[in-house]
C-alpha cells in the first residue's frame, strides 16, 4: 500500500509528510479532579485527570518520604477502537504505557516539593487513532499544570515514522499499523531535553536522526499550543476572580 502518494506527496489522510493533525485541548473537564484536561490530535482523543498531591493511600508504596509518589493509570475505553472489545484492566500494553507515562511525567514534576504525598494521574483514551501514548502524555501535562503541581518544564510528546522512504510526522492508525518504524519522542520543551524515546523497528542511523528531528519539531509545536491554552486558562481564571 502506498502511504505517501508519489505524485502529490500527500499522505493517506491528505496531510503533508511533515504536517501534524489538528490539535485541540481543553482544561478543566472533570469536576471533582484537582486538574483535568481533554486533548485531541485529529481523531485521537484522550482525557486526563489528576488527583493530588494528597495523602499517601497505601503506605507500602511510599519509596521515601522526601518526594511525592507519582502514580499513573492508562486505560483504553471499550468504545475507543474500531472493534468493540472488552479489555482486561491489567493487560501488558496498558501496564507498559502507564509506566512510560509515569516515568515521563516524573521527570518533569518537582516531586521533592511535595514530600509525603502522592499524585495520581488517570488517562483514558476515548478515541484511538494512533499516537495514543503521545496524546496521553500531552493531556497529562495539561492536567498537571491545571492542578497547580510544580513542574520543571512542559513535557510534550509526538510520534514520527518512516514509510515509503519519507519521514512522516504524527502517524495515524493506518500508518501506525503499516509495520514501519514508529518513533515516539517526549521532550522537555524549554530545556530541550529528551525524556522519552521509543522505537518499534529498525532504522538506519542517518534516517533515524531525521525522523527524530521531525518528531522533536512536532513536540515543540505541541508545546507552543499547550502553553497558549494554559496561559489563556490562567488569564480567564484571573479576570473572573477579579
Amino acid at each position: 500500500m502506498e502511504y505517501v502518494n508519489p505524485l502529490t506527496g500527500f499522505r493517506v489522510d491528505g496531510r503533508r509528510p511533515n504536517e501534524m493533525r489538528q490539535l485541540k485541548a481543553e482544561v478543566g473537564v472533570v469536576a471533582r479532579a484537582d486538574g483535568s484536561a481533554l486533548f485531541e490530535m485529529g481523531n485521537t482523543r484522550v482525557i486526563a485527570a489528576v488527583y493530588g498531591p494528597r495523602e499517601i493511600q497505601n503506605k507500602g508504596q511510599q519509596v521515601n518520604n522526601k518526594e511525592a509518589l507519582v502514580r499513573c493509570e492508562y486505560r483504553m475505553a471499550e468504545f475507543s477502537t474500531g472493534d468493540r472489545r472488552r479489555k482486561p484492566k491489567g493487560d501488558r500494553r496498558s501496564t507498559e504505557i502507564s509506566l512510560v507515562i509515569r516515568q515521563t511525567m516524573e521527570a518533569s514534576i518537582l516531586t521533592d516539593l511535595m514530600p509525603r504525598s502522592q499524585i495520581d494521574i488517570f488517562v483514558q483514551v476515548l478515541q484511538a487513532d494512533g499516537g495514543t501514548r503521545s496524546a496521553c502524555i500531552n493531556a497529562a501535562t495539561l492536567a498537571l499544570a491545571d492542578a497547580g503541581i510544580p513542574m520543571r518544564d512542559i513535557v510534550t510528546s509526538c510520534s514520527a515514522g518512516y514509510l515509503c522512504s519519507t519521514p512522516l510526522l504524527d502517524l495515524n492508525y493506518v500508518e501506525d499499523s503499516a509495520g514501519g518504524p514508529d518513533v515516539t519522542v517526549g521532550i522537555l520543551a524549554k530545556m530541550d531535553k529528551v525524556t522519552l524515546l521509543q522505537m518499534d523497528a529498525k532504522l538506519p542511523m542517518d534516517t533515524f536522526e531525521s525522523v527524530m528531528g521531525l518528531a522533536i519539531e512536532g513536540c515543540k509545536a505541541i508545546a507552543t499550543y499547550i502553553r497558549e491554552v494554559l496561559l489563556e486558562n490562567t488569564k480567564r481564571l484571573e479576570y473572573q476572580r477579579g
Partner: protein, 391 residues
C-alpha cells in the same frame, strides 16, 4: 463550567460571553500580562541583582557589606511553594499563575491548586480517622492534618492534662466524617538545611533572618537558627481548636470550592442574622453554611431556655433550611463562575435570587448563572467607576 452541568441556549451563551468579556475588559492590562504558565521566563532586572542564589554551604562566606539581597538556599528550595526555579540564571515559572513581586521577592501565585496552609488560618475540615490522641482531618492539603487531643478544649471547659479516659472518649467529641472548624498552628515540613537566610540591604546593618518556608508558603521569621531545630520534622500540619467557636459543625451544608476563591480576611465566621445562618469561609476552600449556633456568653444566658426548647431545637426550621440551601446554591454558582467569594457577594447573589423570584432549585440553572455573571460585571464596572471618580 467545572461544577455545573449547564446547557445554555444561544441567547444565554451570547449574554454570558458578553458578561465575561466585560469582566475581562475591566481588569487592567498589567494584571493579565503578569500571567505565566509552566516554563515561562519571568523577567527580572538582573542588573539590580534582584535574586541571587547561593547554596547554603556557602553561607559562611558571604561578605556582609557587599550583599544587596541574597537568598541563601539550595536552588530547589527556592522554588518551594513559590512557583519559580532557576534555569541557567533565568527565573522560570514552575506553575501556572500570576507573577507577584513583593519588594525584591518574585513568586508565582497559583490559581487552581490545593490549599497551602498558613499559620493562623481558619479552616473547615472533615475527620477521616481517629488515631491515638489525635484526629486526622481531610483539609484539601497535600497531606492530612492532625488535630491533637491536647490542642483542643474539652467539652467540660477545664484546663487539665488529658488522661487516658479522655483518649477513650475521643469519639464522643468527634467521630469519623464529622465536619469541624479549626485553625492552623504549625505548618512545618522543612528540615533545618532547607531554611532560607534573607538579608535585606535596606537595613543599615545586615540582618540575617532564617526564614522557614513551609509547605504553607509561610514566611516564619525566626531570629536564630537554633530555634528552627526545635520544630518537629514529621511534616504534618497541626491544628488547634482552642476556642468555643471552633468545633463540630452540624445542621448545614459543606461546600468545596477551589481555595483561591477564598481570600484571607480578618473575619471568616459570619453570622447572617437575617437568615439565622452561620457562614464559615474556610481558607482551604471548604465552606460551611449551617444553622446559627449560639456560642460564648450567649450560651450561658440562654442555657435554661435551651433546655426547655431542647426538643424543639432538634430540628432546623424549614425556613432556615431554605435559607441554607439558597446561600449554598449562591456559593455554587459563584464558584462555578470563578468569582472571589465574599460574604457581601454571597448575600447579594442570594438576595438577587429572591428578588427575581428564582426558586432554590432553579438557582443552579443556566438562566441564573448568566444573570449572576451579568450582575457581577455590572458591579465591578460600578466599583471601577467609583474608584476613578474618587481620584
Amino acid at each position: 463550567m467545572r461544577d455545573l452541568n449547564l446547557s445554555l441556549n444561544q441567547t444565554q451563551r451570547v449574554r454570558l460571553e458578553a458578561a465575561l468579556h466585560e469582566l475581562q475588559s475591566l481588569v487592567p492590562a498589567a494584571a493579565s500580562a503578569a500571567a505565566v504558565t509552566v516554563a515561562d521566563t519571568i523577567p527580572v532586572n538582573q542588573e539590580d541583582n534582584i535574586l541571587k542564589y547561593i547554596s547554603l554551604s556557602q553561607e559562611n562566606t558571604i561578605q556582609e557589606d557587599t550583599i544587596s539581597l541574597f537568598v541563601c538556599a539550595d536552588e530547589l528550595v527556592w522554588c518551594r511553594g513559590h512557583g519559580t526555579s532557576d534555569q541557567d540564571g533565568e527565573v522560570v515559572a514552575t506553575l501556572c499563575g500570576v507573577v507577584e513581586r513583593v519588594n525584591k521577592l518574585v513568586y508565582v501565585r497559583t490559581l487552581r491548586a490545593r490549599y497551602k496552609p498558613e499559620v493562623g488560618d481558619i479552616i473547615v475540615g472533615r475527620v477521616i480517622e481517629i488515631a491515638p490522641k489525635r484526629w486526622r482531618l481531610e483539609i484539601n492539603f497535600s497531606q492530612d492534618a492532625v488535630l491533637m487531643l491536647s490542642s483542643m478544649n474539652l467539652p467540660d471547659g477545664i484546663q487539665r492534662r488529658r488522661t487516658a479516659v479522655d483518649e477513650l472518649n475521643m469519639r464522643s467529641i468527634f467521630v469519623e466524617n464529622d465536619v469541624i472548624c479549626v485553625s492552623t498552628i504549625l505548618a512545618l515540613s522543612v528540615e533545618v538545611d532547607n531554611c532560607f537566610i534573607f538579608c535585606f540591604s535596606d537595613f543599615k546593618s545586615v540582618f540575617a533572618y532564617v526564614v522557614v518556608l513551609t509547605h504553607a508558603d509561610t514566611l516564619r521569621v525566626i531570629n536564630h537558627q537554633a530555634e528552627v531545630r526545635g520544630f518537629q520534622h514529621d511534616g504534618s500540619l497541626h491544628l488547634q481548636a482552642r476556642s468555643e467557636k471552633y468545633g463540630k459543625l452540624e445542621r448545614g451544608q459543606l461546600l468545596m470550592v477551589p481555595p483561591y476563591l477564598v481570600k484571607r480576611k480578618k473575619q471568616h465566621f459570619h453570622n447572617l442574622a437575617q437568615y439565622d445562618v452561620d457562614l464559615i469561609l474556610g481558607c482551604n476552600g471548604f465552606i460551611w453554611v449551617g444553622e446559627h449556633v449560639l456560642v460564648g456568653e450567649n450560651v450561658k444566658t440562654t442555657e435554661d431556655r435551651q433546655k426547655y426548647s431542647n426538643e424543639a431545637e432538634n430540628f432546623t426550621p424549614l425556613e432556615t433550611r431554605k435559607h441554607i440551601c439558597r446561600l449554598a446554591n449562591a456559593i455554587r454558582v459563584l464558584s462555578a463562575l470563578g468569582f472571589t467569594l465574599t460574604v457581601e457577594l454571597i448575600i447579594e447573589t442570594a438576595e438577587a435570587s429572591v428578588s427575581s423570584n428564582v426558586e432554590v432549585n432553579d438557582m443552579l440553572g443556566a438562566e441564573f448563572y448568566v444573570q449572576t455573571a451579568e450582575r457581577e460585571a455590572k458591579r465591578r464596572a460600578a466599583l471601577l467607576r467609583k474608584k476613578k471618580g474618587g481620584r
